[in-house]
Symmetry: C2
Subunit: 337 residues, 2 copies
DNA sequence: CCGCAAATTGACAGCGCTGTCATTTCTGTC
DNA sequence: GACAGAAATGACAGCGCTGTCAATTTGCGG
């Protein structure tokens, strides 16, 4: 019924073990043999059984993507990462399981345990903000399960992928300055998220570099949601001297800012320049379209998964690769009034 | 190292097979025996190996959630469904794999084949718009893999979960009529999606029931995105006689309508009532908050998964359960001007 | 053409569980 | 109290693959 490894072996005239070697890309197989086996596999449409491989061997070819579904601000972001991870897994014949972790109490530790020991997970992709949850990372290490992080806050000894968000934020704010803006406000994301810190740091750096003052009134707290963007903007508009530009730490909040501006009768970008971060679909759906920083989430998921699988194969030491950002200059920003 | 079924058997003084029976909830085990075995499992922290179970038995305890990542308008929706499915799977010790399907050409058939035969998938959760892709359903049937659908267009012989979207749309539009609106427009979603059809039908039904005319100019095509909502609204505003209320087939488009209204200087809800559908997070982030229909996506994912697992266990015949909608009447709608 | 190390290949057991079928232990009945 | 039939349990093989280690083949210097 099902084509087994043994069938391929028989068809090729070699032992099952040799077919297994080819399957696992072991080096000690003569090239001519490998070719014959591969050809047979192909023509017989052989597909190894993950269950059998998992049971007999030490590897499961399973990768888990962990995410925090407790306070899930940006499901678009996670969905894109997930797709990228799946892409990479597909290409290397790995499978992926998506695993939401509710970070209440210590229950999540048990979930991690269950996951790892049940399914023999080979490796884990960790997404923000889980990337900086020490208890989780510690547990993974105890299990001996390698992980790759996406945009981790602490980068030493971590493999995965990141973007120079601070540099990107700086570039964005510098762009505003070049447009003639001098009163530039920033809406910060959820405290302690890496993204929030870096973007704030980039904002401050740009101001400092340009020799502009860093007015604390111009830095208000948000929480990455549309609503918090609206609230933060209202707060800024209530200031005695309004900013002429607002850099929100993500697109959702920027959309909130635009809404609030509108509510107050401010025309974007004529009266107020607005920019965000992430380049979510929202950015181009708003009117005017939002100036923002493109964060290649999907690509990042893919790269993180690739890094992980490299490590699993024992090839390379695993790196924290950096993906390039790109400024998407659109119509929500213009010269200062 | 690892606690095996055999260890539990030894500890309890029964044969491995009996432990296996308890594990699989077979009926032919004396109750006292079952209790002892369960106690031992608990105290030894026994966790069965999915690989071994998959290899030896006919079941894999794996469920796949299929989604279309080609044109993915509403990743929030899918993310919520996914979480619901995961919830249900967790509860019944099943695992879930998320599987995006690119519906280009015939490649996706191979992907389905690979999925089912590689992983021995026990069952599949199908999400819109895949629910109505005949080639996919046929292939699943050929593989003998049961599936549960979420909001399928064709309901006969299907198990899964649905909502009476037509009724919900009717109720929403009826609400507008009760507020005194007579010129009510509708922005349709992507053609052929079940959601689009039902919501349009509900709109028409409400008008007909109230004896209002069905002006074709007041029904414009959208595609479930913010941008398409903006375009559609502009089209409606350009009409000689403007509608006083717009029912968009989803929240994203409704947000687009609100934006366009704003752009044109129309105050919502004073000059124009707007309502959407789905109750995405966006609905409460807009200002004014959006009147919409709550679609319990997460709950629906959970229920679909439960239906599927019931079927897998051979219990019950599997149903298409209907979840209740609820009208979320908020500030974006008010009495007609 | 031989001997030896290196390169390749193969034999075999067993991973942890379940399907099949045989066996034992209960029931209730006359 | 013996007996049929049902209920409960067990023995055993084997799912499809890989780890271990042994066997074979190859390449090469002399």
């Amino acid at each position: 019924m099902r084509v087994r490894l043994e069938d391929v072996a028989r068809a090729t005239g070699v032992s099952p073990k040799t077919v297994s070697r080819v399957l696992n890309e072991e080096s000690s197989v003569k090239d001519s043999t490998r070719q014959r086996v591969l050809a047979a596999m192909e023509s017989m449409n052989y597909r190894p059984s993950p269950s059998a491989r998992g049971l007999a061997g030490s590897r499961s070819f399973l990768v888990a993507m962990l995410y925090d579904n407790n306070n899930n601000p940006a499901s678009t972001y996670l969905a894109e990462i997930q797709d990228g991870v799946l892409d990479a897994c597909d290409a290397h014949r790995y499978s992926m399981m998506a695993c939401p972790l509710r970070m209440r109490g210590q229950d999540f530790i048990r979930r991690v345990d269950a996951l790892v020991s049940d399914h023999h997970i080979d490796g884990v992709i960790v997404t923000p903000p889980l990337t900086d949850y020490p208890a989780l990372l510690k547990r993974l290490q105890e299990h001996g399960v390698p992980h790759a992080s996406i945009s981790p806050l602490h980068r030493e000894g971590t493999i995965g992928v990141c973007m120079d968000e601070q540099q990107a934020a700086k570039a964005l704010v510098t762009h505003l300055i070049e447009l003639g803006h001098r009163r530039i406000a920033h809406i910060v994301g959820i405290a302690n998220h890496g993204a929030s810190r870096w973007r704030l740091a980039g904002y401050k750096e740009a101001l400092a570099t340009a020799g502009l003052p860093n007015d604390p009134d111009y830095v208000v707290q948000g929480e990455f949601t549309f609503g918090s963007g609206v609230m933060a903007a209202r707060q800024l508009f209530a200031l005695p001297v309004c900013p002429t530009a607002i850099f929100a730490a993500n697109d959702d909040m920027a959309a909130g800012v635009m809404w609030a501006a509108n509510e107050r009768g401010l025309k974007v970008p004529r009266d107020l320049s607005v920019c965000g971060f992430d380049d979510t679909p929202l950015a181009t759906q708003l009117w005017p379209p939002l100036t923002t920083v493109r964060q290649p989430s999907r690509e990042m998921g893919k790269l993180a998964a690739l890094q992980l699988m490299e490590k699993l194969r024992g090839r390379g030491t695993g790196l924290l690769v950096q993906v390039p950002y790109s400024l998407e200059l659109r119509e929500s920003t213009s010269v200062a009034p």
